[in-house]
């Protein structure tokens, strides 16, 4: 019941000495706002990185890498074969897709006007589009199995080829490859040209002369080029994120462990590419915490300021303490009164600090964003700086403000509580 009374008393006392209270709070304000500012910037950097990662496309990829003991020689037959990967996809059709592509140089075609259009050909097993402006469908595993003459293009190519604006899906185009082989391909879908390609064109390049990437089934391409799939040291599979990645990784590990069980000295190492982001985030978190701790030292300085003012205050109010004791205030009531006052100073300072810190963090974030877009305009869409105040940091700050109040307020308050009422009453 006395808590409310004490808070009321503390407010009265703070309002009586507004300037002094504000100056005392300044130390706490600076301490808390420094911590908040740093954590705000820290979380912003983390958010930005994760945005950048996400904008690069689907990162749910396992790298499958062959590892050998130092003395074990490795032969063609020991490498990861297409048969193994085919078996993996057929065993777990919903879990994994093969992330496999190969470049096949340039190809050309002619539009209705007879203009030559140049394209950059990749053969792929599966494509997951990074952008969601897709029309039609993408190249899939089945297209490879059946060696379909299917092609996945870009909106730029559509504009170059279809002058009259007809529906491109299902249309057949004739592609001539760098080795002179030519074949008909059916357009199964297209996507917006990724931003990252746009900056590759020299300024002033005509629309018709811009080379765009196209994708065809890898196996179709290998067949056309009279090539065989090669065994690899390294493979990538994309996983379905609807499942637990840890479970999927174990599944994958088991699958390959079985394949390599009889090959002594050769093993398979599996790495989730998502963990790159995790590692970077960990580093940023550590740096943020380390700097925050340094910034928190100013909180101690602020706390000493609070203690100093509280000592002055109780000396000034010795008479009041004596009167209160004569009226029947117990030591604990006096102690509580001054501890609450110290907590209030720190808490108000802390809350102001949180707001100024967030404001400062946002300001720095926006300046950084402006600078980045100024110098790297082409990345403007790719990089988005997210200003996000850290909620745990705010909660911890409030907690530490209160703790500072208790810690630095207790000694003066206890001194007040232990005053001899007779001496205190006599004090002038």
């Amino acid at each position: 019941m006395q808590l409310i009374e004490n808070i009321r008393l503390a407010f009265t006392s703070l309002f009586a000495n507004k300037m002094r209270a504000l100056l005392t709070m300044l130390g706490i304000i600076i301490g808390i706002s420094a911590v908040i500012m740093i954590t705000t910037i820290g979380t912003s950097i983390q958010k930005t990185l994760s945005n950048t990662f996400n904008s690069m496309g689907n990162m749910n990829i396992f790298d499958i890498v062959i590892q050998t003991d130092e003395d074990t020689p490795i032969f063609e037959d020991d490498l990861i074969s297409r048969e193994m990967l085919d078996e993996l996809v057929t065993t777990y059709p919903d879990h994994f897709d093969l992330e496999m592509s190969e470049s096949f140089g340039n190809a050309t075609t002619r539009n209705a006007k007879g203009q030559t259009i140049t394209m950059n050909v990749s053969g792929a097993m599966d494509i997951t589009p990074a952008f969601d402006h897709r029309r039609g469908r993408t190249i899939c595993y089945e297209d490879n199995k059946q060696m379909k003459n299917a092609v996945y293009v870009t909106d730029l190519f559509i504009n170059q080829y279809f002058i009259n604006g007809e529906d491109p899906i299902g249309q057949t185009i004739n592609l001539t490859f760098s080795n002179g082989v030519s074949a008909d391909f059916v357009i199964i879908g297209y996507d917006e040209l990724p931003q990252i390609y746009k900056r590759q064109y020299a300024p002033g390049t005509k629309e018709i002369d811009k080379t765009t990437p196209i994708v065809v089934p890898l196996d179709t391409m290998l067949h056309l080029m009279h090539q065989e799939p090669e065994n690899e040291f390294y493979a990538m599979v994309r996983y379905n994120a609807d499942y637990d990645p840890v479970m999927l990784q174990e599944e994958l590990q088991e699958f390959f462990d079985e394949k390599y069980a009889e090959k002594a000295g050769i093993s398979i190492y599996i790495f989730n590419e998502q963990s790159y982001l995790g590692m970077i985030n960990t580093v940023i978190s550590i740096v943020t915490i380390a700097i925050s701790v340094i910034a928190a030292i100013s909180l101690i300085v602020g706390g000493v300021g609070v203690m100093n003012i509280m000592l002055v205050s109780i000396t000034e109010r010795t008479k009041e303490i004596g009167i209160r004791k004569a009226l029947g205030a117990q030591n604990s009531a006096i102690r509580m009164q001054f501890v609450v006052e110290a907590i209030l100073i720190c808490l108000i300072g802390g809350i102001i600090g949180i707001f100024t810190g967030m404001l400062g963090g946002m300001l720095i974030g926006y300046i950084a964003k402006e600078l980045v877009t100024q110098f790297y305009a082409e990345y403007a869409e790719l990089i988005s700086i997210t200003i996000q105040p850290s909620v745990p940091a705010i909660l911890i700050s409030v907690f530490f403000s209160i703790l500072t109040g208790v810690f630095f307020g207790y000694y003066p308050a206890n001194k007040a509580a232990k005053m001899n009422p007779i001496d205190a009453l006599r004090y002038d």
């Binding site: 006395q2 009041e320 004596g322 009167i323 004791k325 009226l327 029947g328 030591n331």
Partner: protein, 237 residues
């Protein structure tokens, strides 16, 4: 009037600097009783030990030796928390310099002892308003101490002292900082409280004239009682 003993002192001795070369004995064995409803004055020159005696009566201090029963409770054996409770409930202090808490209005000052007694806010406010009425200060409830005259401050202080229905009203030179006319009004207020409320009042003073107004005069000199008139017929009015 009833004969219930409120204050009972036996051989009270107070020493300071005990065991040091400058050991000092202020009270040399004080014994006296005050019964309920008495208006008694304790008179003595400065240095006579009357302030020390007042501190002991008011439970601000403990005697070095002897027993002091306040309403039957032995004060000398109580701890700090219990002493606080005694000061809060049994004693109503009135000081020479009023000792109102600054930046706190009259009503809140009167509420303070009740706050420490744990009385709910509503009840406190009601009682405080009644007390302001009693001391004729109802129109000054929300005035701060620095907006009140000396006499008004002392009346608020008396109302505050009465807040928890104390066993004794302990007044230490209550007119000492006031002019004669205002001092007269304050003394009249004490008489009124004594007469109408039946309050037990212990008045500490160095002035024989003021003491003359009370029922009983206890005179102290050099730490000993040198005379005690006993309860006399009421002379005032």
């Amino acid at each position: 009037m009833s004969n219930k003993v409120v204050i009972s002192m036996r051989d009270i001795i107070k020493r300071y600097y005990i065991g040091k070369p400058n050991e000092l004995q202020i009270l040399n064995g004080i014994s006296f009783d005050v019964t309920e409803g008495e208006f008694v004055s304790i008179v003595g020159a400065s240095g006579s030990g009357k302030s020390t005696l007042m501190n002991i009566i008011g439970a601000l201090d403990r005697p070095t030796e002897g027993t002091y029963l306040l309403g039957g409770v032995d004060i000398s054996t109580l701890n700090d928390v219990e002493l606080s409770r005694i000061r809060n409930k049994e004693i109503g202090f009135v000081f020479q310099t009023f000792n109102l808490i600054s930046r706190t209005n009259a009503l809140k000052n009167i509420e303070m002892p009740m706050m420490y007694a744990g009385i709910p806010r509503k009840q406190r406010m009601q009682r405080a308003e009644e007390l302001l009425e009693l001391v004729d200060m109802a129109d000054r409830a929300d005035h701060q101490p620095n907006e009140l005259s000396g006499g008004q401050k002392q009346r608020v202080a008396i109302a505050r002292a009465m807040a928890n229905h104390p066993s004794i009203l302990l007044a230490d030179e209550p007119t000492g900082a006031l002019d004669t006319k205002t001092g007269r009004m304050i003394m009249d207020l004490f008489h009124k409280l004594h007469r109408e409320e039946g309050t037990t009042i212990v008045l500490i003073t160095h002035s024989p004239e003021l003491a003359e107004e009370t029922q009983r005069i206890v005179t102290i000199s050099d730490g000993s009682i040198i005379s005690d008139t006993g309860v006399r017929s009421y002379a005032a009015d």
